[in-house]
Each structure stands twice: as structure tokens, then as C-alpha cells.
């Protein structure tokens, strides 16, 4: 072996290898990159919009959706059979449009409907449909078609079914056909729904629920259920071009959309792609492979995203709640529950983990929803002196509390760890559990609902009477509630029944005070995931905040445009 090679040492070889890596990295770092957008630190945490460029017609947009929620549609996009339900609202809104849309500041926008009236003590709702609207297959959207849709929705056995309280042909079977009196076609553009109980929240409950999305009966009958679910036909701003389940959807502009004469939708093409999560979406956007990512929730990545993209924090409507199971020890003891309130200080958690991005709340309403009440009279806040006393009196320091949450939410997981540390300062031991959805459901329902002690979940919706609202967590009939109090049930039912907003809000205020007085579970902050978009993208939900109906807002795709040049 030549002398010069004999003198080569291991160290030199490693240096040579490292040098190769460094050269590559240097090339990467010095390169202009694929198409990394220029830095535009732009984040909104209040009810203010991001400055948008002038509207521009044409162009294409790629929207990234995270798997595990909106990025999955394993059964296709027929609202009556898609079990992932409103998680797929982005696709539904794009291809079907909506009867009623929720705009900024809670403004009701008429899309395929033009009005509604309550009557008969809020047990009858009459809806006016927009005349002249056609599906993209050319068939007309009439009251008969809407009636066919709603009948199908009410008969659906999936949990995405409409939850209207209506008379059934077989009262014992909740998915039996609705009675003949339930849905009435009054004219080609007028349809009426008759309920068995008053429901003043009926229109608010339409948002993000399947009766709001109307499919083409003609295409459904022609294509069959399975084929239709893959390439659905609606009257929305876009038409389906291709669909690879839970992977990618390609859409193009619908030339027969009712707002086409006004130049809507702006975009020519809209593509949705599933990505594995926040990290993958962030990198894809940096590489220019997507212009929008909905529902980013990882705090560290939100901070990173602020350096490159527009980050719009929506106004939350579903506060996080620490549910306490009043059916089992230790939380069947009111002093133990009060101790939890007094021991828990959400301010440092918000400050250190979430950078004060979300407002602290004391009830089940959020700043983006109706009847928002940040402070609740009689709410027991953090009080370490009282906490020490109550911990001793209730014996909380002698037991171990089981605290659980869903594993797919980093917000919830980090919060449980922080709470456990806070409680440890008072001598309270905690065992933490994170569950996937399946196991979470089991944890709630096992042993007649007596296997869990405390859970961190969201409670509330844009309208507390809708979606995963307050009843889901506090109604005595819900399997996911830790409260069994008929007085609270009555207050919540009264709130849902009235169609007068001030009356409803008064009842919700009463409910919040009642929950606080009985220490049924402290609330902490109203979280809403952020939508991230590259500079030049604009539209409701992307540069102007929208209220989240249940967890995330419904983006109005017909109003979204992409003007990268800004001119």
C-alpha cells in the first residue's frame, strides 16, 4: 500500500465523509430553494384580518389536509353515508355549496337558500330555496330534491345523520323513515320541516351538518351509491374531476354555479391533498407543493410558520373543559371538585405552552360563537390557600386521579402534563392517559360510564346547541358527560328551544353559572386551530377569520383566490 495511504487515519476518513455532507448542506443552504415563499410574518390572534392582495380570477390552489381528521374520507363524499361527517366539510362545501353559510362575525350568508321562518312555537321551520339553481349535471335544485335529500339523511344509520327531533314511521327505530308530516314541499322553492320539540337553534344547527349539503338526485340514481360517493355531483362552486380516497381530490371550476355571472369561484382548479400531519404540511408548503394548510395546531410549528406564511388563528368556539365524573369517587364529592377548580391555574399554561394565543374562558362559549361570556359569576378561580384546605378536607391527597385525553390533540396532551405538575404542588397524584378515539370511547362508556374520573375535552360549538356542543359534555343523557343533573338538562333544553337570541343567551348564562356553582368542570381556554396560507392567498377563513362551527371554520371556497404577484 502506498505510504500516503498508510498514513491516512480513521479520523481523516471521517472528516472526508463529513466534508461531503457539509458541502451538500452548504449547497442546500445557499440555494434559492425550490420555491420557498418570502418571509411574511403575519399572524392574527384577534378578530382582525390579514391584509389581502386584490382579487384575481383564475389560477390553481393546492390545499393540504391532515390525516386523522379532514384528510380522510374512506367511504367517499356522500354526506348521508360518509362516517367522517363534517370533518370533510372543505370538500362538501366546494362541490355541494351550502344552503346556509356562516360568515365573519357570525353573519348568516344565504347560498343555496334565501331565507327561513319559524312558526308553531319554533316547531316548524320553512326554508326558501334560491330559484334557478342547477346542479352541475344540469338538473334543477328544487324543494323536491331537497326533500329527497333530507329523507335520506334522516334514515341514515351513520352518526352523520341529521339529529332533528321528528316523528318517525316507527317511533322505536331512530333511523326509520320520517313520518309523512315531517317534510313538506310547499312549492318548488319552499320546503318545511315539522319537529316534535321547539328548536330555536335549527338554522345554526344546519351549519356543518349533512342537511346543509344537497346532492343531485339525478346523478345519484344514474351513477349508483358507490360511484356517486367517489365523484359526487352538487351545485357548489367546483366540480369533481378525480378522487383517490383519503389521498387526493382534484376539482375544477363549475361553470353553472349560481354565482358564475359574478365571476365566482375565482379559482379555476382546486386540489386537496392528504398529508400525514402538521410537520409534513409545513415542509410541503416550504417546498411550494401546497398553498394552504387547514387546522394546524402544533404550537412550535405555528411559531415557525409565522416566519414564512400567513397564519390565521380563528376565533375559538369550543373551549377546553376538564370534565369531572360526578358519578364516581373522588368527584362525587363537591369539595373535591371545588379543590380542582382552586388548584388549577391555566394562566401559566397558556403563557408558557401556548404563548397566550388563546383567551381564558370560564364557560362553554368562545369568542367566535354566540352568547360568549368570558367571565362567569361565581366561578371559582385559582386560589392556592383554599386549594390546600379543600385538598385536605376532601382527601384528594390520599388518592390518585386518573386524567385522560385524546392522543391526537397535542394541545390536550401537553395540558394534562402541565395540570399534573400543578396539582402535584398540592400533594395530589395524577396518572395520565392518552387514548386514540376508539379507546377514548371505550373509556367513557365502559362499566356504565364509571371507569373514568377526569378527561380533558372540548365542550361547546358556534351555537352551544349544535355539533359537539355543551349538551354532549353536560347533558345527563349523553354517554360522554360526567354530569347527571336534570336541572341543568332543563336549562339547556330551554336555551335550545327559543329562537330569540337574547333569551337563548340568558339561558346559557344561567347554565354556565349553574355549572360553576356545582363545580362540574373548569374551563380553560378557547382553542381554535390555525389556517396557514402562502402570501397571495386570500378568502374567508384564510385571511379573514370565521367562527368555527364545531372545531374548525368552513372555508367559503367560492370567495378564495390566489394572487401571488399581489398586483
Amino acid at each position: 500500500m502506498p505510504v500516503r495511504f498508510r498514513l491516512m487515519t480513521m479520523r481523516a476518513a471521517c472528516v472526508a465523509g463529513a466534508a461531503a455532507l457539509v458541502l451538500t448542506a452548504a449547497a442546500a443552504c445557499s440555494s434559492g430553494g425550490g420555491s420557498s415563499p418570502s418571509a411574511s410574518p403575519s399572524v392574527q390572534t384577534s378578530n382582525s384580518s390579514i391584509k389581502a392582495p386584490p382579487a384575481k380570477e383564475g389560477g390553481s390552489l393546492t390545499v393540504l389536509e391532515g390525516k386523522g381528521f379532514s384528510g380522510d374520507w374512506p367511504l367517499g363524499l356522500d354526506p348521508a353515508t360518509n362516517t367522517t361527517g363534517s370533518a370533510d366539510q372543505d370538500y362538501y362545501n366546494a362541490v355541494y355549496g351550502q344552503l346556509f353559510e356562516l360568515g365573519d362575525n357570525g353573519k348568516l350568508i344565504y347560498d343555496l337558500a334565501t331565507g327561513y321562518q319559524f312558526s308553531n312555537g319554533n316547531k316548524t321551520v320553512t326554508i326558501d330555496l334560491r330559484p334557478g339553481v342547477k346542479f352541475s349535471d344540469g338538473s334543477p335544485l328544487t324543494a323536491d330534491v331537497v326533500a329527497w335529500n333530507w329523507t335520506r339523511d334522516l334514515e341514515s344509520s351513520c352518526t352523520c345523520a341529521a339529529e332533528w327531533q321528528v316523528a318517525r314511521t316507527n317511533p322505536k327505530v331512530t333511523t326509520s323513515a320520517p313520518a309523512a308530516s315531517v317534510i313538506k314541499v310547499l312549492s318548488p322553492t319552499e320546503i318545511q320541516v315539522n319537529l316534535t320539540v321547539p328548536d330555536g337553534a335549527f338554522i345554526n344547527q344546519m351549519f356543518d351538518s349533512i342537511p346543509n349539503w344537497i346532492i343531485s338526485e339525478t346523478s345519484f340514481n344514474k351513477m349508483g351509491e358507490k360511484a356517486f360517493a367517489q365523484l359526487p355531483v352538487g351545485a357548489g362552486p367546483f366540480i369533481m374531476v378525480s378522487d383517490s380516497y383519503s389521498n387526493q381530490i382534484v376539482m375544477k371550476k363549475n361553470p353553472t354555479y349560481w354565482q358564475a355571472p359574478q365571476g365566482l369561484p375565482y379559482l379555476d382548479n382546486l386540489t386537496f391533498k392528504s398529508v400525514s400531519g402538521d410537520e409534513a404540511a409545513y415542509e410541503a408548503m416550504l417546498a411550494g407543493e401546497g398553498q394552504v394548510y387547514t387546522d394546524m395546531s402544533t404550537p412550535q410549528l405555528l411559531t415557525e410558520s409565522e416566519q414564512h406564511f400567513d397564519v390565521l388563528n380563528q376565533l375559538g368556539t369550543s373551549p377546553y373543559d376538564l370534565q369531572l365524573n360526578t358519578a364516581v369517587a373522588p368527584f362525587n364529592n363537591v369539595k373535591a371538585r371545588e379543590a380542582i377548580y382552586a388548584m388549577t391555574n391555566f394562566q401559566p399554561i397558556l403563557q408558557n405552552i401556548f404563548k397566550n394565543a388563546y383567551p381564558v374562558v370560564e364557560g362553554f362559549t368562545g369568542p367566535g360563537g354566540i352568547c360568549y361570556e368570558q367571565k362567569v359569576p361565581g366561578y371559582q378561580g385559582y386560589d392556592p390557600t383554599l386549594a390546600k384546605q379543600l385538598v385536605q378536607e376532601s382527601g384528594l391527597n390520599k388518592v390518585t386521579i386518573n386524567l385522560g385525553t385524546i392522543s391526537s390533540s397535542p394541545v390536550a396532551s401537553e395540558t394534562t402534563e402541565a395540570l399534573a405538575q400543578e396539582w402535584a404542588a398540592f400533594g395530589v397524584k395524577t396518572t395520565l392517559h392518552t387514548y386514540d378515539l376508539n379507546a377514548l370511547i371505550q373509556a367513557f362508556t365502559a362499566n356504565g360510564g364509571k371507569s373514568w374520573q377526569s378527561m380533558i375535552q372540548t365542550a361547546g360549538a358556534y351555537d352551544p346547541a349544535g355539533g359537539v356542543g355543551v349538551g354532549f359534555r353536560f347533558d345527563s343523557t349523553s354517554p360522554f358527560s360526567g354530569v347527571h343533573d336534570t336541572t341543568l338538562d332543563t336549562i339547556l333544553n330551554n336555551a335550545a328551544a327559543s329562537s330569540v337570541l337574547s333569551t337563548r343567551c340568558s339561558y346559557y348564562d344561567q347554565a354556565a353559572e349553574y355549572i360553576a356553582k356545582n363545580y362540574y368542570g373548569p374551563f380553560y381556554f378557547s382553542f381554535a386551530p390555525a389556517n396557514v396560507s402562502v402570501k397571495g392567498v386570500a378568502g374567508p377563513g384564510l385571511t379573514t377569520p370565521l367562527p368555527a362551527v364545531s372545531v374548525t371554520p368552513a372555508i367559503l371556497w367560492e370567495d378564495v383566490y390566489y394572487n401571488p404577484s399581489g398586483s
Binding site: 495511504f5 440555494s31 425550490g34 352518526t159 327505530v173 333511523t175 415542509e283 417546498a287 386514540d436 370511547i441
Partner: protein, 345 residues
């Protein structure tokens, strides 16, 4: 076969049956037959264990499919539709019966045939693993030969450093680094590949980073193992001395003689690594949003989709069994002394 012999065969039926006997008695074919027979209980065992484990996972697939708002009535109805209300053994026999008829059942989550699901997703994974395997093997052999040519030389030491890096880094961590460098900064490859596109070039672009994430650790292992084997052959075997003494050029001694005899360990390793490859695919595919069978397996496990999990696991088991059989057959190609069923002369 010579023309005269062919003519003889055409005229002599006895000769044809003799050939048939020789084919049937072929050691290689007998090996294949024996392996296929022993594969049956292996595959049955794998699928049974999978069935047991999936049934032990807490939760009801119907509940999971229908979601948190599902009513007991809806769950019961879906239970009946999916056959979940049958006893364990009934469900397993039913699945086996379907398997014997080539039907892997219906996926709980998307209500599609498992056969069609696998047919849809398997090609992407096959291309990905083939790409990773072929490139890692090719580069591994080339680098190992170059390194073994001069042990402790500069090439050897550099290859050692690179191999150590490959052995130290986890595929998923490597994937993130590759994405950052080659996608985000350089823009050479996509970060996500929801489809392989319509052209070979698009597919190669889409698969390069995922294949590199899987293949780099493999390349590291193959290089070190093969290099060590070759060096041992070159330094200790008499036939190498003989070849050199006969004046065979050094490169020919290295490549044709030493390397060929060193491939046995490598082949065994490749066959044993097939399972690892498949596991790596399950981790790498979701990172790149590749619509492959690995990502589909993860989804299916999360949602307790038993038929889909069983179908995919069966495919994996078949691939592993086939890979091991292929490795055994390769031995006979590489070393004529090895003839299964006959003592070596």
C-alpha cells in the same frame, strides 16, 4: 439440445417421459415444492396470530367507524352487517373460507373489497421497495468491492464512515433530513407524493427520497458485510492464491472469484431483511404521503379494520416466504456444488 437429440425425442416417446421424470425429480423443483408445503402452516400461523391480536385490541370497529356520536342501535346494526356479532372461531373460519376462494373479505372502514384495496396500494410499495433494494444492493456491492480492493485504504475508510452513519440514523429521521435538504432547500424532489404520476420520470422523482430513506441503512449493512467477506476470501482462501499464481488479473480475481463466493452471506441478509423493508415502508410511506400498502396497514390497525390488516399481513408473509425461497435458489446458481437432494461431490 443438439438437433439429433431433438429429432430423437420426437421419434421416441420413451425419451419424453424420461425428460419429464428428470424434471419432476429436479432437486430445485423439489425444494420449491417442499418450501411451498411448509409455507402453508407458516402463513396460517401468521394470520391466526394476527386475528388473535386484532381481537384483543380493545374497542369495537363498528363504534370506531361510526364515531363518537354513534347510537347503540347504529352500532348493533353495523356489527351485524360486518359480522362482528359472530363468535371468534366463526369469524376466523369464515375468513379462511374466503381466503381459499381467493376472497380476502370486505374492509370495515371503506366497505371495499380487500383484494381491490391491496391491488390498488401494493404497486406503489413494490416499486418503492424494489427501488430501495436494487440501488442499495448495487451501490453496496460496488462500494464493498472498491473498499475490499485495498483494506484500510482511503476508499475503505470513507466507506466505513458512511456506513457508520447509515447504521446510526433511523430511517424516519433520515427522511426528514432528506426532505429538508433536497425538497425544501434544493427543490429537487417532492416532499409529498400522493400519486406516482403518469411517467417513469415522475415516479422516480416521487420515490427517490423515500427509497433513499429506506435504502441508505440497508446500503450501510450490505457494504460492511460484503466487504468483510471479500477481504476474508482474498486473504485466506487457497483458490485466490491459485488464481493469482495462474496470472489471473487482480480485478478478475476480486470481482469474478472472491466477490462471487462472498455473496452467500449477502443473499441471506437480503432475504432476512425483507421483513425489515416492509416495516420501513410502513413508517416511510406516511411521511411522504405515499399511497402504499404500508401506510394503509397503519390506518387499518388504527381503525381496527381486521380484514384489511389480515390481507396485508398475508401479503407480507407471502413476500417473506418467497424471498427466502428465492435466496435458497440463488445459492444453487452461485455455487454449482450445492444441489439440494443430492450429496455434493
Amino acid at each position: 439440445m443438439a438437433l439429433a437429440q431433438q429429432v430423437q425425442l420426437q421419434r421416441d416417446p420413451g425419451a419424453r417421459s424420461d425428460i419429464a421424470r428428470r424434471v419432476a425429480g429436479s432437486p430445485a423443483l423439489q425444494l420449491v415444492g417442499r418450501r411451498l408445503l411448509t409455507a402453508i402452516p407458516v402463513l396460517l400461523g401468521v394470520t391466526f396470530l394476527t386475528f388473535v391480536v386484532m381481537n384483543l385490541i380493545p374497542g369495537n370497529p363498528a363504534q370506531l367507524i361510526l364515531g363518537i356520536n354513534a347510537t347503540p342501535g347504529a352500532i348493533a346494526k353495523l356489527d351485524a352487517t360486518l359480522g362482528l356479532n359472530h363468535p371468534f372461531w366463526d369469524r376466523y373460519w369464515l375468513w379462511l373460507d374466503g381466503l381459499l376462494h381467493g376472497n380476502l373479505g370486505i374492509s370495515y372502514s371503506n366497505q371495499q373489497s380487500v383484494n381491490s384495496d391491496i391491488a390498488q396500494f401494493l404497486p406503489t410499495t413494490c416499486w418503492l421497495l424494489l427501488y430501495a433494494l436494487v440501488v442499495s444492493l448495487f451501490l453496496g456491492v460496488v462500494v464493498a468491492v472498491l473498499a475490499a480492493r485495498r483494506p484500510n485504504g482511503i476508499v475503505d475508510r470513507i466507506s466505513l464512515a458512511i456506513s457508520m452513519l447509515g447504521l446510526s440514523v433511523a430511517p424516519y429521521a433520515l427522511a426528514l433530513v432528506l426532505i429538508y435538504v433536497f425538497s425544501v432547500r434544493l427543490g429537487w424532489f417532492p416532499t409529498i407524493s400522493n400519486s406516482l404520476g403518469n411517467s417513469p420520470l415522475t415516479a422516480i422523482r416521487a420515490l427517490t427520497l423515500p427509497a433513499a430513506s429506506i435504502g441508505f441503512p440497508l446500503f450501510a449493512v450490505y457494504t460492511r458485510i460484503l466487504r468483510a467477506d471479500i477481504v476474508e476470501q482474498m486473504q485466506r482462501e487457497d483458490y485466490i492464491v491459485t488464481a493469482k499464481a495462474k496470472g489471473v488479473p487482480p480485478w478478475r480475481v476480486l470481482v469474478v472469484h472472491a466477490t462471487r463466493n462472498s455473496l452467500f452471506t449477502l443473499i441471506t441478509l437480503v432475504a432476512l431483511n425483507l421483513g425489515t423493508l416492509i416495516g420501513a415502508a410502513a413508517i416511510i410511506e406516511p411521511i411522504f404521503s405515499l399511497p402504499g400498502i404500508g401506510a394503509e396497514l397503519i390506518n387499518a390497525i388504527n381503525i381496527n379494520d381486521l380484514p384489511l390488516v389480515e390481507g396485508i399481513v398475508l401479503v407480507f408473509a407471502l413476500v417473506t416466504v418467497a424471498g427466502n425461497l428465492l435466496a435458497d435458489l440463488m445459492y444453487t446458481v452461485l455455487d454449482p456444488r450445492i444441489r439440494y437432494g443430492r450429496a455434493a461431490s
